[in-house]
């Protein structure tokens, strides 16, 4: 589960995929997840970070996280297209 390398994420929350020419907007949480994924952080580490920093349970986070990954996959922003 890797983000496409070429994807440009700007601080404003604007995501640009030069391969498809599509652009996207993400909210702050989504942006943080994308940043961590860019650094090739494993899922567990990402989850740990969010549970520590935000007011969210691990099980809740997992639910929203995979939903988000689902959207990334839908938008073809993920490199290896195997299910997580």
């Amino acid at each position: 589960m890797k983000l496409k390398k070429s994807i440009a994420i700007s601080e404003s929350g604007f995501v640009f995929d030069p391969m498809s020419g599509e652009s996207f907007s993400v909210n702050e949480i989504g942006m943080e997840i994308l940043e961590l994924m860019k650094q090739d952080q494993p899922v567990d580490a990402i989850s740990e970070y969010f549970v520590k920093t935000y007011d969210v349970e691990a099980s809740d986070f997992e639910k929203y996280f995979y939903d988000f990954i689902g959207m990334l996959r839908q938008y073809q922003l993920i490199e290896d297209n195997e299910p997580a």
Partner: protein
């Protein structure tokens, strides 16, 4: 360390485009209180979904409507349209405000009686009145509005056995420049049926022709149509006097005033296009004042507006059950409010407000109800702040038609709570349970054992 507030992560594709019907999403304000009571507390105490009715809003709206007409015309009477919302508590608020009852069935008539409305203050409309209904209404001296010739002859038969003449009006349908014409109710003006009905009533000598009634449509955004309707009824009244020396005592202009809800398919928001009570009143009363009524005696003006008097006072509170992603990537939000409770979502794009302050991020979603049924959609393609499971919301302006047209389908109908003018709450219809729903059922002996 204080933990930061977590918002659901979210990404959306940016639509590149040219002007179309849908634009930049706009901030949707939260609605945390109804008449100063926290929505969260109401749901905690009475469950979700929950209907809430504001007595304060009802009384204020009613007084505003009354004022709009009474400052323009000397003789005005409102009649509460039972079918719009016939919860007893609601009806009684209107009756306390001096509204008569306007009913369209034997059942509604019984309700009005039970609510203590005097017989001569009940207007009986509609195409379905049985012989016994007609008899009762005649005996009680109610105002019977005749819908068709068959009913007219039924009533003449009933009247033959009475010692007084039943008071009647005819319902008239007409071309007011608004289409479609509601010509399925009453007698047509343009083709002469209405005049014919007047002649037959007078010739029968069994009925007292007291009034003329029309109801030109529903959700009328044109006040001009009311002006035309009032003029035509006025003209009929004058003609009836000159031909038969019959004095028409009242003109009932019906209802159909729009509220600020936005109809599906409309371009502008309802709150930008719905005329105010003052605008409706101006058209109707100025048309009547222009008519040369015999002896300059103005007939009583009766109004049966329902929707515009109660819509704003009703709120439907609910909770998000789940978020989903559909096969095409579109978002779906499942609410505990479905079309079983919110019948009007079939024709309005209802305004939905979150209860709490929300994120600035919007997503396009479809709001589905909880029913296991495909047509259960509350809002198609709504742009809304991100919602999470358990988040609460309020649907505004639902006081009209929902608490009568709701369905007991798949699940129980929820509590209906009235907030009185002092801010106290009262359950005015309690949530159904198995006994309430199955009370009328019976199981034959051979099916007792399974």
């Amino acid at each position: 360390m204080e933990k930061k507030i977590f918002e659901r992560p979210y990404i959306k594709k940016i639509r590149a485009g040219m002007p179309s019907k849908f634009g930049k999403p706009v901030k949707i304000d939260p609605l945390p209180f109804i008449d100063d009571l926290p929505v969260e507390e109401l749901i905690k105490q009475y469950g979700s979904p929950l209907f809430v009715i504001s007595e304060k809003t009802i009384r204020e709206t009613f007084r505003k409507a009354k004022m709009a007409f009474e400052t323009r015309y000397p003789r005005v009477q409102f009649a509460w349209s039972y079918k719009t919302n016939y919860l007893d508590a609601v009806c009684r608020i209107f009756h306390q405000e001096d509204a008569w009852a306007e009913v369209v069935s034997g059942f509604e008539y019984e309700k009005a009686e039970k609510n203590g409305v005097a017989g001569n203050k009940i207007i009986f409309n509609g195409p379905d009145k049985s012989l016994s209904d007609l008899k009762k209404a005649s005996e009680n001296d109610s105002l019977i509005h005749i819908d068709h010739f068959d009913e007219l002859y039924d009533l003449i038969e009933v009247a033959k056995k009475m010692d007084h003449k039943p008071r009647v009006a005819i319902r008239v349908n007409m071309d007011t420049g608004v289409y479609p014409i509601w010509d399925r109710f009453g007698f047509n003006y343009e083709n002469g049926d209405a005049w014919d009905a007047i002649n037959r009533i007078v010739r029968s000598e069994k009925l007292e022709l007291s009034g003329l009634h029309c109801h030109i449509g529903t959700y009328m955004l044109s006040t001009e149509a009311y002006r035309r309707a009032a003029s035509k009824l006025g003209e009929l009244a004058v003609r009836a006097f000159h031909r038969h020396n019959t004095l028409i005592k009242y003109i009932d202009i019906g209802g159909g005033f729009a509220t600020q809800n936005t109809l599906k398919g409309a371009y502008y928001q309802g709150y930008d296009t719905a005329p105010s009570f003052d605008e409706y009143a101006e058209s109707i009363t100025s048309a009547l004042l222009d008519v040369n009524f015999p002896d300059n005696k103005l007939p009583l003006l009766i109004l049966e507006t329902g929707r515009a008097l109660i819509d704003d006072a009703g709120f439907l509170l609910g909770t998000v059950l789940a978020n989903k992603r559909l096969s095409g990537g579109n978002r779906a939000t499942i609410l505990d409010v479905g079309v079983n409770n919110l019948f009007t979502s079939f024709w309005y794009d209802h305004e939905v407000n979150p209860v709490k302050d929300t994120s600035d991020h919007f997503e396009e979603s479809t709001f589905f109800g909880p029913l296991c049924m495909n047509i259960d959609v509350i809002r198609d393609a709504i742009s809304f702040p991100l919602l999470r499971k358990g988040d609460q919301f309020v649907i505004k302006r639902i006081g009209a038609y929902n608490m009568t047209q709701w369905m007991q389908f798949i699940t129980y109908r929820p509590n209906v709570v009235l907030i009185d003018i002092n801010g106290s709450t009262h359950v005015i219809r309690k949530m159904e349970d198995l006994n309430a729903v199955t009370a009328g059922e019976s199981v034959p002996d051979h099916l007792q054992k399974i």
